[in-house]
């Protein structure tokens, strides 16, 4: 009882510290991890080796590989190039521009980190909007919301999916075929919804159409050669993802193969690429895995797994829908990464009682993915576009966010629930 109690206290204290935002989340997670190991050694429920086993290095490898790929692409100016090209194609018509930019962000975020995508696309959007004399808010909002939605579609689209895929052993194709249709529907519905909310802004005639000519896409493209190479590398990596299951390559290995090919072909300066890797994020993950692993080793989850099993067996449909909405609510207010990592052993414990838990994984992925759109702090991409908008004359206020994106989040969760019910009913999600 004492091990479970102390592990529980360390877990709660760590999560409270992370969610309070008082200390940097990586420091909080690492301090928690060290506390968990030390307590574990003192009380005999955990040690360094068990902690290392608890860390899901497949997730870390996947994140690392994708970060390296992004780190090589980012300085080439490829994102800016495509964003400007899109604005030229739209001929300055706001709603077309909105469609182009937001779907571009959604598409890119299905394979690449959506925070990076938004970090690059948002400033370009602001300058395009300035040139055209239109309000950037609808564009920025659309990009953040659609990048969060797009990330749900694939195994590698956002960190919660990576964690879920790795823990549940679900393949890239499984994610694409189960969650892809949901995401596509949600993308269509939300692109139809945004023009309704922002009809005034998006119907406006652009002012300085001739200025658009001055935006030179070529100049944004710093390194066309590297961009072309990385285009192939990315294509090759995605191709490998499609066949990773028959090849028996874990997703982490695929990402690292992509990164290795990119590094070998482009030969960038290693130290510069290393600077693009978010080490604090990787260590944050490692710390969280160790903390939650301690909780598991101390038998805390064993104490409630009986009850959890009953919940899972009493009705997979109810359990799934409950997980979707709880996850959505949680990730609207707190960081979805710690939440997902903590949910993994809970769902596994439900499965240990004999119930089929695959629908629960899909429910978790949909909930944490869509829930992030509900509040301005729900996802990192939201925080990024808001801080970008604060440098323009049109800052995105919380009220503005709530009156548009929150509705999208709600709608997407409703659609997700429908798909979940349909998927379980037809057996597609089982």
């Amino acid at each position: 009882m004492i091990p479970a109690l102390s592990a529980g206290i360390i877990f709660l204290a760590t999560y409270a510290l992370i969610f309070s935002g008082k200390v940097h989340r990586t420091i909080a997670a690492l301090a928690g991890a060290v506390a968990m190991i030390t307590a574990g050694i003192a009380l005999g429920f955990y040690d360094f080796d068990l902690a290392m086993e608890a860390v899901d290095f497949n997730t870390i490898g996947l994140l690392l590989g994708m970060m390296i790929i992004v780190g090589i692409i980012q300085p080439t100016g490829a994102f800016q190039y495509f964003a400007i090209r899109l604005s030229r194609v739209s001929r300055g018509r706001p709603w077309l521009l909105f469609l182009g930019l937001s779907w571009f962000t959604a598409l890119v975020s299905t394979v690449l980190d959506n925070v990076t995508t938004v970090v690059i696309v948002a400033p370009v959007t602001v300058s395009i909007a300035e040139v055209l004399g239109v309000n950037p808010i609808p564009f920025l909002l659309g990009e953040a919301v659609l990048s969060n939605i797009g990330g749900v579609a694939t195994l590698v689209g956002d960190p919660p999916n990576i964690i879920i895929g790795s823990a549940a052993g679900l393949s890239f194709n499984a994610f694409l075929t189960r969650l892809g249709p949901v995401v596509l529907t949600v993308l269509f519905v939300s692109t139809a919804f945004f023009p309704l909310v922002f009809r005034r802004e998006l119907r406006k005639e652009p002012e300085n159409l001739e200025n658009l000519e001055r935006l030179d896409a070529r100049r944004a493209l710093v390194d066309p050669l590297t961009m072309r190479k990385m285009f192939w590398v990315l294509g090759f990596t995605v191709l490998l993802y499609f066949v990773h299951e028959p090849l028996q390559f874990p997703p982490g290995l695929v990402a690292l193969i992509g990164a290795a090919v990119g590094l070998l072909w482009v030969r960038p300066k290693v130290d510069e690429v290393m600077n693009f890797i978010h080490w604090d994020v990787l260590l944050f993950f490692i710390g969280l895995f160790i903390v939650v692993g301690g909780l598991e080793s101390a038998g805390v989850l064993g104490l409630i797994s009986q009850e959890l099993g009953i919940v899972a067996r009493s009705g997979i449909l109810i359990a799934s829908v409950a997980i979707l909405w709880i996850s959505a609510l949680m990730s609207a207010v707190v960081d979805n990464i710690p939440f997902t990592i903590a949910m993994v052993p809970v769902i596994k414990a439900m499965g240990a009682q004999g119930a089929s838990i695959t629908p629960l994984w899909w429910a978790l992925a949909l909930g944490v993915g869509f829930g992030g759109n509900a509040t301005p702090i729900g996802a990192t991409a939201n925080v990024v576009v808001i801080s970008v908008s604060e440098r323009t004359p049109h800052p995105i206020s919380s009220r503005r966010w709530m009156s548009s994106a929150t509705l999208v989040a709600f709608l997407s969760c409703v659609l997700g629930t429908l798909f979940l019910i349909l998927g379980i009913g037809t057996g597609w999600f089982l």
Binding site: I27, L30, A31, P250, A260, V270, W279, D280, L283
Partner: protein, 441 residues
Amino acid sequence: METEISAGSVELWAALGVFLAAYILIFTEKIHRTIAALIGAVAMVLVGTFLGFYDQGAALSSIDFGTLFLVTGMMVMVAILEGTGATQYLAIRIAQASRGRPLLLLSGLGAFTAGASAFLDNVTTMVLIAPLTISIADILDLSPLPFLTTEAAFAVMGGLATLVGDPANIIIGSGSGFGFVDFLVHLAPVALVVWVGSLAVFFLIFRDFVRKHPKNVEKLMEIDAKKALEDPAGARRMSVVLGVVILLYLVHQWLGLEPATVAMLGAALALVVGRPDVRKTFSEVEWSAVFFYGALFVLVGGLEHVGILNEFALLFQRFAQGNVLVASIIILWGAGLLSAVVDNVALVIALVPVLQRLGHLGLPPEHLTPLWWSLAIGAVLGGLATPIGSSATVVTISLSERTATPIDARRWMAVGVPAWFVGLSLGTLFVVWGVLSGFYA
């Protein structure tokens, strides 16, 4: 535990081919060593998955995370310490205590470098001390060359004394299960003997120099050491953290804490107490080194899984014919020669599983233990011989390029080779004594 496959099979040759190709790529330095190692690691896992002798799971369990976390933890602490200016402060104080007399200054700075690098990363130590040394030598109108070469040599030799002093020791500690105190008891005396011996050699080499009379001593004395201390409060806090960490290292074996746990504890403590900029601190950690080590473990793990290291261990055992003295001396000088030309981490990561195999093959502990210490002595001191033998020398040489007497290969060898030879010889004597007296059993 692992699949043993008979020699001559496709798996064996494939694994050996990937391993050798990767190591050649690393040692030729045509491409960055981390990239070379990562590509080798990915290739090993791919080939292993196809041929069925290795996969991602096995590769991950080959990685010695104890080493990686220990290295990372120490680097985080060093990064935070670096910002406080504490090292520079102490170096100035030592220079002032010597009153600029070359003999005392050389010994003082050398000893300080050795002491610092016994606990801190060698490269960081040199990066902090070398620029300061150059300016002190400038003030005194003395050539910085003798100081810099001595310091670089001591930075390398200093690492021998403790478990955390050199990456080679960290890996050996993790692979052999020896703790901080074991290293301190068995290697610190060797290190001390080697330090004194090579200091005598340096005095001999620089005999004219150490008799020189420095100029402008009063200017040296006027330097306000406190100014170097950028963050006095931070320096005080960090010295408390370092003190706690060293204390924990001294008792970690009794507490049952892994050295890596202690380092992570120290890093977490330093982050909480020092409250530095997290992103900046983490960007100062040399991640490419951490990944280099990780990738090497994966590469060598592939070799281990085809059973080739077992063959190698058998071969070695037959060669040494059960004579522990012969075996120790082969390892000490073999590692000493090899790590003069190649990265000692790459060498040690490949040799640790061989020594572990020897243990599995039934070599009694009293015969195995001297081999571990011999490997540490050879691998750490081997780097002295050439200008590329250790990263501390590489850094010092590049820092010396802006002085009037840049260290070139010839100038380095004039100091490094004697130090290397004396170091390895004294090390051999110590090992022989240790084996005969039973101290290393």
